[in-house]
Symmetry: D2
Subunit: 398 residues, 4 copies
């Protein structure tokens, strides 16, 4: 059992608390910190949290606090981590770890220097589908990964600070790109070095400074490319999809709008259908168990099991730092309009990649480009003459 100090009372603090205390969980949020006393008190009452405070240090240092969960706006992560380190408490921080790689590195170094347990609350890597898909990829179900696509798009976040670049560090990339980048990295392999990024981003709709729409490509040392797509401009609910393409297979995940739950209603029930749904009549696509589908349950299971077992969780502050470094390159690419290198002063994975899959020799003269069965049942080969480069086709048995 873990006793948690929850920092933050917004949507994310609510989701974390529900996930931690939900079902037959053995963990408890024992103190909650918020800036606004009324709101914090209400949060504590609603979720049965015995103690609340508007002093962050108090929540962290409380004797009943076994671990600290940071669910605060991005600009407050560094301060909160520092307080946890001071109190020598394990600390779990929401995504993104920081507003940029420099800040993320500072945060990483302070916890590592102090030897503090740290977890990076990258929930979307932990959705039941994503976990199983990553395991399938690791078992070879799709062969060598060639390309991934991770997309998160909706009509924009619920809280004001997200829309303020000072406080958040950016726009849709900082808000959601961090998810998409880490999902892509998890499919490609987290020990594979991200080399460079090209990114388009624009402020297409809203009267804000930061980008409300962006698409980027991250190129990895194996030659794989991981595509991320983020938007605060999407209409239709929340579009949360991942795709992987490899030499031997493909995976398509749809986490939100098409999960096998389809409702048509001519006149709404008046209730809350799903996070970021846009309407209460017509065809709607709710999600069965939102906290589970978003990965919160499996994430805290890993985090707290890791804490108790004395092992690192799947996602640590180091991962948060790598993601920030990739996002920094994306923002530079938006400015320079070219591929920008990912600057990773700290790199703990492998170097070099694997190059192209070895050409399959067909015989002494030819390499095999493609083998396919034709409608008439015969097999056609497309071959390349290794010396002349000529491409020919040949029907087997003819």
């Amino acid at each position: 059992m873990a006793r948690i100090a929850m920092l933050g009372t917004g949507l994310i603090g609510m989701f974390y608390t529900v996930a931690l205390q939900g079902k037959r969980g053995r963990d408890e949020v024992t103190v909650v910190y918020g800036r606004d006393p009324e709101r914090t008190k209400a949060f504590a009452e609603k979720h049965g949290v015995p103690r609340w405070t508007t002093e962050m240090a108090e929540a962290i240092a409380a004797s009943e606090t076994d671990a600290v969960v940071i669910g605060l706006p991005n600009h407050l992560h560094k301060e909160a981590v520092a307080l946890a380190v001071e109190a020598k408490k394990p600390v779990l921080c929401t995504k993104p770890l920081a507003r940029n790689a420099a800040e993320a590195r500072e945060i990483l170094e302070v916890v590592e220097k102090a030897g503090i347990f740290h977890g990076y609350l990258e929930d979307l890597v932990y959705t039941p589908k994503t976990l199983k898909a990553i395991a399938s990829v690791q078992q070879g179900a799709v062969g060598k990964v060639l390309w991934t696509r991770s997309r998160e798009a909706h009509p924009g976040p619920h809280s004001d600070w997200f829309w303020n670049k000072e406080l958040s560090g950016g726009g849709a990339i900082v808000d959601m790109g961090c998810h998409c980048i880490e999902i892509g990295r998890s499919f490609v392999g987290k020990d594979v070095r991200p080399l460079e990024v090209v990114c388009w981003g624009d402020t297409q709709v809203h009267p804000i400074e930061a980008e409300d729409h962006a698409v980027g490509l991250v190129r990895y040392a194996t030659g794989a490319v991981a595509q991320f797509e983020v938007a605060w401009t999407f209409r239709g609910g929340m579009d949360l999809r991942d795709e992987v393409s490899g030499t031997e297979g493909s995976i398509w995940l749809n986490h939100w709008l098409r999960t096998g739950f389809e409702v048509f209603s001519s006149g709404g029930p008046g209730g809350y259908v799903a996070e970021k749904a846009e309407s209460e009549t017509g065809w709607m696509f709710p999600v069965g168990d939102e906290a589970a589908a978003l990965g919160y349950e499996a994430m805290f299971t890993d985090m707290l099991d890791a804490l108790e077992a004395g092992r690192p969780p799947v996602e640590t502050f180091y991962d948060g730092y790598v993601v920030n470094a990739i996002m920094d390159a994306a923002y530079r690419s938006m400015e320079t309009k070219r591929w920008e290198p990912v600057e990773l002063e700290i790199w703990r994975g492998t170097e070099g990649g694997e190059g192209r899959a070895a050409a399959a020799a067909y015989d002494e003269r030819y390499d095999l480009i493609k083998r396919e069965r034709m409608p008439d049942g015969r097999v056609k080969l497309i071959l390349k003459d290794r010396s002349s480069g000529e491409v020919v086709q040949k029907v087997e048995g003819s």
Copy 2:
């Protein structure tokens, strides 16, 4: 926290134990009973259960047993419940409650007479999607329920006793129809009386006595019809779908083969893809978190919360009895080839139904049959003359 005696070490015992002990759960299986010592010992070791036995009474009476979970073949439920009653332990029994309504009634009466807490482990009513869909229906999202369809079909069960009519009480209806019937009942309203059943069943493929395929209709007092479809003959994996149709809307649930998780693999990873999947190459449709998707998590949460709170769970032995009574009528209908009444000696819901939705009067002369917008934007009305019965159409504004 609840300390559980698990009776049974088959697939269902495994799923129950994983659900009870999974994630950050606070409950524990403290003793497991099985008939085969080797298998029971292996089960205990695999799932970290501290004690195992081949004596059912011992597991139930053990001082560390707070509650008993029955995961045994159908013909053993009555004996196991009797032992729990004797030991005055709360008892949760897998589906179906019994082999027929008479046996179910005996089981119900023995627990009620003893005042023992009892839960009916009807997991498919508890899937995250089903729970949310039932709540939507109760909130009026589809209006008055007119029709439901619940389908469970796969290539047949894993254990031998299912295929033996003596031990199981029947075939696919007893195995899976109980799920489909209770899902339909949950949509129509559990206090609405099931009136009669017509059912087709046949042994189409397997060399067995019992039906391996059946389709039935249950007519309720409100006029709603709940359709159940069960098969041990289905090819393609496990087909687990529900539909509801009401005066104001529709719901379609797909729990298994189309949940937003799609994998193509040219050469399998060698691993376990999903319960009852049929292949390890080509397009496959795994489920993210099987125990959650099948409702085990939410079911035990309700059951054990109810036990602690001193309230009945959503599904009690009484529900199991009603389901058995409906299945009995289905089996009779297979014999007599006609609608058969549902014989419920114990009925605790409402009597009577609601009849047809009141006709909407259009004006003094006509009832409104239908109002529709035509492609050209005008509105067409189809009206019925209340006295002459004549049906006419009228374009508004023309």
Copy 3:
């Protein structure tokens, strides 16, 4: 090239004309008959039909009429066919052929006696998906057919006469059950005798005499069961789905609401989205090419190619008669509340069925019930002792 007399100017006449004259078709509607002069004239102008009339006999007898297409209400089919026979013109009649089997038989006999070419315009058997699925079934893709389900449901027809039992002959069964029954029959095999029907039907919502909702089962001589589901009470658009389940496979068709075309619109474009769509905002599911998706194109291609080639089309008046006989049994079953025989005075298919698939002998003692691969990779067999009937399980290699 065929020159067509189109009888009827309603929705069905419009769809037929668009299909016949659409794209780069070589056929032409050269005369159109309708009861209302204004409407008929407008129809002719809109579709470029050179001649119109309010005299049915004139349209049929016209020198430029090569073939007659009947798109009239059910109670007028017999008269129209008689006029075509009199004029010795090939005749294609919309579905259902008649209001009941007796009337259908009269219609069939009059055309056969006169040796007139006749086609039954059962468009939903001809959708591109259905045609390919039937071909797959015939090639053995699903093995022996065990069960089919065909569903058509929407909020009710557009014209007044459908709602008048006198004119139409019935309700949703006569309107749409004819489609579903012939689709099921096409999957089971059109030469397999339909034996009996059980059917539930009710008037759940509308102030009409006829059923607005029905579900029926047709049992065939091979043991296959074909389920039909029809509703004028469905909310959400038009639900048009078919399923087939066989010993070796399964097919699922969705013709309308989920065809890979998904639109979310916050504020409607003002246009016509799709036949029987219910809204113009929110998530909508249009169909690309409605006339093609509903089978009209492939149907007229078969019909007119057959006429030119002097062969019968896939669907003849005989098929229409069989369908009427099955619907008659369904209506009787609604009254008697039991399975009712299909009374076919004219039967041109095979007699007898195939019985259960032969049991697979495992060895001298056992029949094989099921073979399955377990999660650990081993193969488990479920076997039945032929003499004792005992069911056992055995793990291969153990």
Copy 4:
């Protein structure tokens, strides 16, 4: 009626011929040209083409040739067009128009100078779903278009010349990117200037010179971005999907692998399931009418109707030229690793774009960033102070 000279006997020539002569079409292929006499003769026999030749000029000049359809490898388009111009015959050319923009411009100029009718056979713009989606976008269903995604991916083409960069002009971009680019352009608006392109491409799997995988972004003058994704490395069949995202809505199209046709077969029927399907067992996803689903029917309808009516078709050689110019920029970007301008010496659309959607003023002080309904029913506004830039939130009615 049009009498067609078909140049080419490959897969594309076959699809074109089937589409032209299929169903009840009034057009005919009257002569076919191929380089290989045996194959050409066989093609003519199979498709009922009365005349065949290995002389391209002969086929074009034949007195029975009303129009020429070019279905040849890319490097032969220019020569074929020149011969058609010489013979003063209308000419329809397959995609891409040429190997690069310079060659495309030459082709365009020669037909325009001669005043010859020309059509660009961009079939995927003409699929029934795409046509309807483009019409919806033009009617305003999604508001202002912000982003599009068009994807075509499969395991590689059937003929050898595609794999030879000399003959084809490139790899997957030239083969399929032309489709995706024109689809994106059709959604954004064909009169909107494409400004610049960034593109990643790589040869990931095959022993060839050209790219077998590429992703690019095309930025348009309105600020919209059109994403294209092409791969010869995809496993699982043919992935053919389009998406559009606008200020008021979204569209998702799936043309191939998920169209509402789903088959599971344990042992294949031996037949041809679908173009580029990868297996004949397990779950498969055929397409009902392939020629229609790929747009061939609607394309030739538009082309030949346009020819007869003396109007230009939807897709002309000019469109082919624009697409080639965009592909040229994509190839340059792959080299320079930066955004590259689209060089269009001939531009016939509008100049300038529309900029960001006008900010919605909330009151004298604030702009509205977002309005949303909260779970509790109240409406929350996120506002930006126009002078200070501060972002605040406000709950209406509180």
